[in-house]
């Protein structure tokens, strides 16, 4: 497993990673969220041993970051990587397979797996951004990694390719791999990750399951109640809340008040046509946890 213990990193005399502790167990998928410059990429580079740690400790299945043993167990997908344009996807992936000590045929299998088999012989200069990203994903699957560090893995992927990507991540975790991935795209991760860690200005401000984060943030559940024709005014008079789009009323309540509110709505069948329950999404949580504490409401 990946164990990060009180890690500190300075750059130009400023702490860019401040006392971060985080573990990712085998078989666990953890999403690392944060604004640009929050320290996500720096944290990944510290785990990889690409940059030196100024305080604290990191262990990758018991090995120090950057050691040959740790690198053998780890896969990395950088945020920006330009493969050599004049070579084909197959040539690049076969080269990387040799470096990982994997068979060349494994590279061909992975090209198939990420949907690049038909374009394997073409030069990378002819690839679209999504195809290049999929080539990057293919290399991250080489050598059966126990720990996968994926920096913005779904940027440039269309919705279907994203779905396929999370399938691959699911398979990695199901095979006992630990997965740490950073992303801006929040909603797509709701059902796809086991735990969420949020970095703000180098500090870890949240680290829990989505459910627990929702509870601890205490963000309101929103109920959208659609009124029967011309009854919106009466509905509002009964329930309060605010009007949206002409004939609906939106109400906000805490999670534990939800049932009581629902039964009071249920008591008004002559006014209510339909109801939608909107729990706080990842976007709301993210906005809550990544805002400075004093401005939280």
């Amino acid at each position: 497993m990946l164990q990060i213990d009180g890690v500190i990193k300075y750059r130009d005399g400023r702490q860019t990673v401040t006392n971060v502790s985080l573990t990712v167990e085998a078989g666990e998928r953890v999403a690392l969220l944060g604004h640009n410059g929050a320290g996500k990429t720096t944290l990944l580079r510290l785990i990889l041993g690409l940059t030196k740690i100024d305080g604290g400790q990191i262990s990758i299945f018991g090995h120090p970051p950057g050691s040959i043993e740790a690198r053998r167990l780890t896969a990395y997908l950088p945020e920006n990587v330009d493969f050599h344009q004049s070579l084909s996807g197959k040539e690049v992936l076969r080269h990387l397979a040799r470096l990982k000590g994997d068979r060349a045929t494994r590279a061909d299998d992975l090209l198939e797996r990420v949907g690049l088999a038909a374009d394997a012989e073409r030069r990378i200069s002819t690839y679209s951004k999504g195809m290049r990203q999929r080539l990057g994903l293919a290399q991250a699957l080489l050598g059966d990694p126990r720990l996968s560090l994926l920096d913005e893995p779904t940027s440039g992927l269309d919705p279907i390719a994203r779905w396929e990507f999370y399938e691959l991540v699911g398979e990695l975790a199901a095979g006992g791999g630990a997965v740490l991935l950073s992303s801006h795209a929040l909603t797509e991760m709701e059902a796809r990750t086991d735990r969420i860690a949020i970095l703000r200005a180098g500090k870890l401000v949240a680290n829990d399951t989505l459910e627990s984060l929702r509870r601890s943030a205490g963000l309101p559940v929103r109920l959208r109640v659609a009124a029967r024709p011309d009854r919106a005014e009466d509905l509002m008079a009964n329930l309060g809340g605010c009007r949206i789009n002409g004939r609906s009323v939106e109400l906000a309540c805490q999670a534990d008040e939800k049932m009581a509110l629902l039964s009071s709505i249920n008591a008004l069948p002559h006014l209510v046509e339909d109801i939608d329950i909107v729990p706080p999404g990842l976007d709301d949580l993210y906005r809550y946890f990544s805002a400075p504490e004093e401005t939280r409401s």
Partner: protein
């Protein structure tokens, strides 16, 4: 070592695909043919065979061209990979940083050695076909080839060192051209100027031979032209026979590649990609 060969194989493929190999071979071939054919005039006057004249011309050409090709092959090797994000990816793989550099070096040295072999080979064959050659001039051609490969290896090392020092490939390109201008062109001009000013004093007799031999390009010239009858054809800089220990230029050429290779590796190790 397996990883080094994997890198070498990959970079040879890259040199082939990006036409660097073809350009190097084309340049060497073109210049070799031109020099061999145009070198006919002094041959009769000096009473030496054409291959001797050709070797002399090729030496002068190689002093400029071999370092230039080596630097152009190597300047992008590290700064370019870093710029593309490939270096961060490669260093996350379970391979040593030395194997990365050795692989690049092998690929670039093979590219250069093949270009030199083709260029010099054509020059040799053409000279013999036009005029004939003595065994001594054949030997001179082989010494020229071996020393040109060593000169190339040295400047590949300089290229990697510079490429490790700067972040952007553009800056590395500028610096290697600067190194070439200063090390190959201006260095000799400065020495000539100092010789003229000194007029046969301490500088000329003691310092100058050493300053000449520590420059790999001048050591290359001394190895190929020093003491030979054809020296006067091409070189304005002469060293008295007894001013340096025997085989000093050869030693210098052999020592440069490992020394600069080590420096490049140390600089490369410092990089945080």
């Amino acid at each position: 070592m397996t990883a080094a060969f994997a890198f070498a194989r990959y970079d040879l493929l890259l040199a082939h695909r990006n036409l660097w190999a073809a350009i190097s071979i084309g340049l060497m071939t073109l210049f070799a043919i031109v020099l061999t054919i145009s070198g006919s005039a002094p041959a009769g006057a000096l009473g030496v065979d054409r291959l001797t004249v050709t070797v002399t011309s090729l030496t002068t050409l190689s002093i400029y061209l071999v370092p230039l090709i080596a630097l152009l092959l190597s300047f992008d090797a590290i700064a370019g990979e870093r710029d593309r994000g490939m270096l961060a990816l490669i260093l996350s793989y379970p391979v040593s940083s030395a194997s990365f550099l050795i692989g690049k070096f092998l690929a670039h040295l093979i590219t250069l050695a093949v270009a030199l072999a083709i260029g010099f080979g054509i020059a040799g064959i053409l000279s013999v076909a036009l005029d004939g050659a003595s065994p001594a001039s054949w030997k001179a051609l082989f010494v020229l080839y071996g020393s040109a490969v060593l000169l190339g290896a040295t400047f590949l090392g300089f290229g990697y060192a510079i490429s490790s020092l700067v972040r952007h490939p553009g800056a590395a390109a500028g610096l290697v051209i600067g190194l070439w201008l200063i090390g190959i062109v201006l260095y000799d001009l400065a020495l000539l100027g100092a010789l003229v000013a000194d007029d046969g004093g301490f500088f000329t007799s003691k310092l100058f031979p050493w300053l000449l031999v520590i420059n790999p390009a001048d050591a290359f010239r001394l190895v190929n032209l020093g003491g030979s009858t054809s020296t006067l054809l091409a070189s304005g800089l002469l060293v008295p026979q007894d001013a340096l220990p025997a085989l000093m230029p050869q030693m210098a050429l052999l020592l440069w590649p490992p020394v600069i290779g080590y420096i490049a590796w140390r600089l490369f190790r410092r990089i945080e990609p």
